[in-house]
Each structure stands twice: as structure tokens, then as C-alpha cells.
């Protein structure tokens, strides 16, 4: 029996190793492509994970283009502002749903859930933004996702895990809701609050659709929309106008499309990779599956 188990363990390790490699390999390959000198990139095999004649030339070319730097700024700006609004609204709403015993609570919960069940589609949302006069404003991207019901319910569950007596003791000491929220509920549910904030931030960083349809001025585009231009364009000729200049930023000969694609993917992914370890630190299986309270 013992021998059987160890065969299973070896097989299991091999399968999991395969899963890990197939997840990471594409990144390593793109990193190698992006770092390979543009002279050699056309001959670099798809299996490569080491760059040939490593250089940062493509990155420098991209970062030297004002349009790209702007897109980076736009992404950061949208993510920071939108996440701040998200987390504020989510915390106060989750607090009320966890603590409040008020008339109409059940009705209010249904009011929150109905939009999760019925999706009116692209056009009614587009018409709303248009009628509000928000087309081409950053708000068109920030406001429509101001609060997520699912995350609000997760946080409510975490707040429910805070013992009632803690809140009551604070109330006796004269703490109002405001103090209860920021001095008790939030600190005691800190891992959950951080996890949910990161979920929101990653969502905004990754959003390409709202910016694509609402922001008509390319100077307001975030990185994802810019990246999409590189991904959907089959070749250099079909690349969006202002991006054409990137190609020739290093002189007479155009930078290889493959290098640019790889580099801009890496640039777009780096912030996620930076936040990811923090997410792993605070995140626990229980927070997401709703099993954990407090």
C-alpha cells in the first residue's frame, strides 16, 4: 500500500508541476521576447525563456512615447480614484447591512440584488452615460462600477463576524456609526477589506471595455485599450495612428511588432504582479467562499 501511495504522490507532483509550468511558461517566453534585441527577435523560437542579447530597447522606445506614458498615468489615475470610491461605498453599505436593524432592510437587500439578476445589455448603459453627458469623461469609466454587490455581501459577512459586544461597548463610550465603522469594523476585518480593495483595483486596472466605448479622446485611454490596439491589429499598417510613431522611435527601421506586443503586455501586467503577493498574503480561501466570518 505504501508503494502505491508514493506512485500516486510522484504522479501528482508531475501533474501539478505541469500545471505550474503551463501557467508560467507563456510569461517567461513573453519576457524573453520583450528583452531580446530587436535584431534577433525574428529568429527567437517560441520555446525560448532566455532572451538573446538582452536589452531594454523596446521598453525604452515605448516609455519614450508620450502617448504610452499618458496611458500608464490614465490607468493609475482611474484605478486609484475608482478604488477609493469603491471601498468607501462598500464599507459603509456593508456596515449598515451587517449592523443595522431597520425598517425595510429585506426590501433594500432585494433592491441591491435585482441588478445582479437582470442585465439590460450594452445599449441602455451606453445611453445613460450619453444622456448624463459623461462621454469622454473619466467619470464614465469610474462611476458605473462604483460598488459591487457581491463584494458588499462578502464584507457584510465579515462585519457580522465582529462580536456585537465590541460595537455595543464602543457605543456606550459614545462612539457613533462613523467611529464604529473606521475604528472597529474596518480594523477587525482588515484582511477582508484589503482583499476586496485589491479585487476592485485589479478590476479597474483590467477594464478595457468602458474606456474603449466611452473615452473618445485617445489621450484618455488607459493601458488596456492601448494594448488592445497592439493585440487586435494584425500588423504595423493597421496600427492606430498615434501608435505608429512608437514603431519608428528608434530610428529608420521599424521596431518588430512581436517585440512591441510582448513589451506592452509585460508593462500592463507588472502592476498586477506587484499587487498579487499582497493579495496572497491577506487573502484566504474562507474570505472568498464566504465560509469565514471575521
Amino acid at each position: 500500500m505504501n508503494k502505491k501511495v508514493s506512485i500516486f504522490q510522484i504522479l501528482n507532483a508531475l501533474i501539478l508541476l505541469f500545471v505550474m509550468v503551463s501557467t508560467l511558461y507563456p510569461f517567461l517566453n513573453l519576457l524573453a521576447v520583450s528583452l531580446t534585441d530587436v535584431e534577433y527577435v525574428s529568429s527567437l523560437p517560441g520555446t525560448a525563456i532566455l532572451p538573446k542579447e538582452p536589452t531594454l530597447r523596446t521598453y525604452i522606445a515605448l516609455l519614450k512615447t508620450p502617448f504610452v506614458r499618458r496611458a500608464f498615468f490614465n490607468s493609475v489615475y482611474i484605478t486609484v480614484v475608482a478604488t477609493a470610491i469603491n471601498i468607501f461605498l462598500t464599507i459603509i453599505t456593508a456596515y449598515v447591512l451587517a449592523r443595522g436593524d431597520f425598517f425595510g432592510k429585506r426590501a433594500y437587500t432585494i433592491f441591491l440584488i435585482i441588478p445582479m439578476l437582470f442585465n439590460p445589455g450594452i445599449i441602455p448603459n451606453y445611453m445613460l452615460i450619453k444622456n448624463l453627458g459623461l462621454i469622454n469623461s473619466y467619470w464614465s469609466v469610474i462611476l458605473p462600477g462604483a460598488i459591487n454587490v457581491y463584494y458588499t455581501m462578502l464584507l457584510r459577512n465579515l462585519f457580522l463576524g465582529v462580536p456585537k459586544s465590541v460595537f455595543e461597548a464602543a457605543e456606550i463610550d459614545g462612539a457613533g456609526h462613523w467611529k464604529s465603522i473606521w475604528k472597529i469594523a474596518v480594523p477587525l476585518a482588515k484582511p477582508g477589506v484589503i482583499t476586496i480593495s485589491l479585487f476592485y483595483a485589479i478590476y479597474h486596472w483590467n477594464d478595457y471595455f468602458k474606456p474603449m466605448i466611452y473615452l473618445s479622446d485617445p489621450n484618455k485611454w488607459p493601458l488596456q485599450v492601448l494594448l488592445r490596439q497592439f493585440i487586435v491589429s494584425a500588423d504595423k499598417a493597421s496600427l492606430f495612428g498615434p501608435l505608429q510613431s512608437v514603431l519608428y522611435s528608434q530610428g529608420e527601421t521599424a521596431l518588430p511588432f512581436r517585440s512591441l506586443q510582448a513589451s506592452i503586455i509585460i508593462i500592463t501586467v507588472i502592476p498586477i504582479l506587484t499587487l498579487y503577493p499582497i493579495l496572497l498574503r491577506y487573502f484566504s480561501v474562507g474570505i472568498v467562499s464566504g465560509a469565514e466570518k471575521g
Binding site: I15, G46, F103, P115, P120, M127, T152, V269
Partner: protein, 307 residues
């Protein structure tokens, strides 16, 4: 609620509302947000019954756009593609997270299991724009990783992304690549909840590892699996807009165009707002019915539902 209320009851209700007024104040921002950004668009679907006018009020046309819709072969193609892609995704992606969770759970070397976990959750946090870029790179017929392996074994390279024969396979595989790790979380949580005594008892009875998995682990996971499966059916009309929209190209449109991408094209590219709203409403209503039914069923299993 009773229709006859004594003045005393009304008064106590008024007092109750007054007492919790601060809770209501705190709900004002979220309420304003939901009314504007969710309820106005819900009522906005009335555009499906109106002819959109740039100037002046829209004209009511009843079911005209639905009649157009149900006589459009492109719409039926989009409907067929939506159902096919959803079905393929559920059949092929559904079991993967279950196996992954079991394998990670069975891993004796806990440090290794933890490393696997921290790697496989990652793709869930990438946008479909990025994943499309990654898949386009590794599937490229010129210098993609996969085609280099294919060539190594002496076969002809396959233009996966532009071949209508292979494109749906790409959708399924990329979906697995992105979600299998993250989706395994629910099963990992379920596995953590299994009473270890069950295994100890089985060990004493001399049950092998395999039979322990078959007779303890799988049945314990079954409830979670049933719930996840049912909830997936609830989203059947949603074949994954972001994925298909980014990966699709002209050469695969016949097998890839789903209802969402169709509505996008009609509405925002061809600016036929009313018709596109009708498409969205059709999808929304079926989606609503499916979610309501499947949630009712999921509640019966008491393992959890959307609410």
C-alpha cells in the same frame, strides 16, 4: 403587510424609522448609485420598443424590432454560437477545478502545494486583453510555442486563432487556463471542511487512498459540484463577452459571434440602438429566467445560492 394599521402601530413604525435614521443616511450614496447606474438602464430597455431619434422624442413601434430579430439569420447564428460555446465550456471546464483541488489537497509536500496554489490563481487576475495577447503569441503559426512543438513532431503548424475549426477549442482551453485555478477555491474550501475522522476510520478499515478518494472525498465534494453546476447553467446565455470579443477575428466570426458581440456590433458600430437593445433584452430576460430557476434548484441543495 397588513393593510389595516392602527395609529399606534404607525407611530411605532415612525419611531423605529426615526431611531434608525442614521443607517438610512449611510445608505444614501449606494442608493443613488443603484438608481442611476442600474435602475435607469433597466428601464432603458424600453428603447427596444421605440424607434431611436436623434432629435425629438422616440417613436413607439411595438414589437417591430423583435420581429426583425426573429427573422434575422445572423441573430440565430449568434444564438446557436452562444449555446454551443456555453455548453462546450461547461462540459470541458467544469471538472478541471475539481481535480485540481483534489490533487493540491493530496499533495504531501505542503510547501509545494502552496507554491502551486499561488501560481494557479494568478491568471484569474489578468484581463482578457492580456490573455488574448498571450494566447496569440503561444499559438502563433510562425513562432508560437505550441506550433513549434507540433512542428517538432513533424506535423503542419495550425493557425489556431484564425481557424474556424479550432477557434472554439481555443476558447475552452484559454478559459481553463484562466479560471481553473481560481475556481478550485470553492472545492478547496469544501475539502477543508471534511471531517478528518472519516479518513482515519477508513484507514483503520484498510481502505486504499483511491477508495478513500472515491468514497469520501468525491461524495463530500458532490454537493459543491452540483451547486456550481446549477449556477453555471444560470449563466448559460452568457458565453463570455470579454473573452470572445477580444479573441474573435473576421476569419472565425461564423463560429465565434455570440449574442453579446452581435449586440455590440449592431449597437455601437452600426449605431442601430433600438435593434441592439432588443437583442440585449431578449438575452437579459432569458438570463433572468434561467438564474431564477437555477437558484431555486440550488437552494434545495442548501449548499448556497446567489443570495
Amino acid at each position: 403587510m397588513k393593510s389595516t394599521r392602527s395609529p399606534g402601530k404607525m407611530q411605532s413604525l415612525a419611531r423605529r424609522i426615526y431611531k434608525s435614521r442614521k443607517y438610512y443616511y449611510l445608505l444614501i450614496p449606494a442608493t443613488v448609485y443603484f438608481v442611476i447606474f442600474h435602475y435607469i438602464p433597466i428601464f432603458g430597455v424600453s428603447l427596444a420598443f421605440q424607434k431611436y431619434k436623434i432629435f425629438g422624442p422616440n417613436e413607439w413601434v411595438g414589437l417591430q424590432y423583435f420581429k426583425e430579430l426573429f427573422s434575422s439569420p445572423t441573430f440565430y447564428r449568434a444564438l446557436r454560437n452562444t449555446l454551443t460555446i456555453s455548453a462546450l465550456k461547461i462540459i470541458f471546464t467544469f471538472p478541471v477545478p475539481v481535480f485540481l483541488a483534489i490533487l493540491m489537497n493530496e499533495m504531501r509536500n505542503k510547501a509545494f502545494a502552496k507554491a502551486v496554489r499561488s501560481v494557479v490563481y494568478l491568471p484569474h487576475f489578468l484581463s482578457w486583453v492580456v490573455i488574448t495577447g498571450i494566447f496569440a503569441a503561444i499559438l502563433s503559426p510562425v513562432n508560437g510555442l505550441v506550433n513549434e512543438i507540433i512542428r517538432f513532431f513533424g506535423f503542419e503548424p495550425i493557425p489556431f486563432m484564425t481557424s474556424s475549426k479550432h477557434f472554439r477549442g481555443v476558447l475552452v482551453v484559454s478559459e481553463i487556463w484562466r479560471s481553473a485555478g481560481w475556481d478550485s477555491i470553492l472545492y478547496t474550501a469544501a475539502l477543508m471542511n471534511i471531517d478528518p475522522q472519516l479518513y482515519e476510520a477508513a484507514e483503520i478499515d484498510g481502505a486504499s487512498k483511491l477508495s478513500q478518494t472515491l468514497h469520501i472525498t468525491i461524495p463530500e465534494l458532490a454537493r459543491t459540484m452540483i451547486t456550481v453546476f446549477i449556477l453555471n447553467i444560470g449563466f448559460f446565455m452568457n458565453a463570455g463577452f470579454d473573452q470572445v470579443f477580444n479573441m474573435m477575428n473576421d476569419s472565425v466570426i461564423s463560429v465565434a459571434d455570440i449574442i453579446d458581440t452581435y449586440a455590440y456590433r449592431i449597437g455601437l458600430i452600426k449605431m442601430n440602438y433600438s435593434y441592439a437593445t432588443a437583442v440585449g433584452l431578449f438575452q437579459g430576460v432569458i438570463g433572468l429566467v434561467l438564474v431564477l430557476i437555477t437558484n431555486k434548484i440550488a437552494k434545495k441543495y442548501e449548499t448556497g445560492s446567489l443570495w
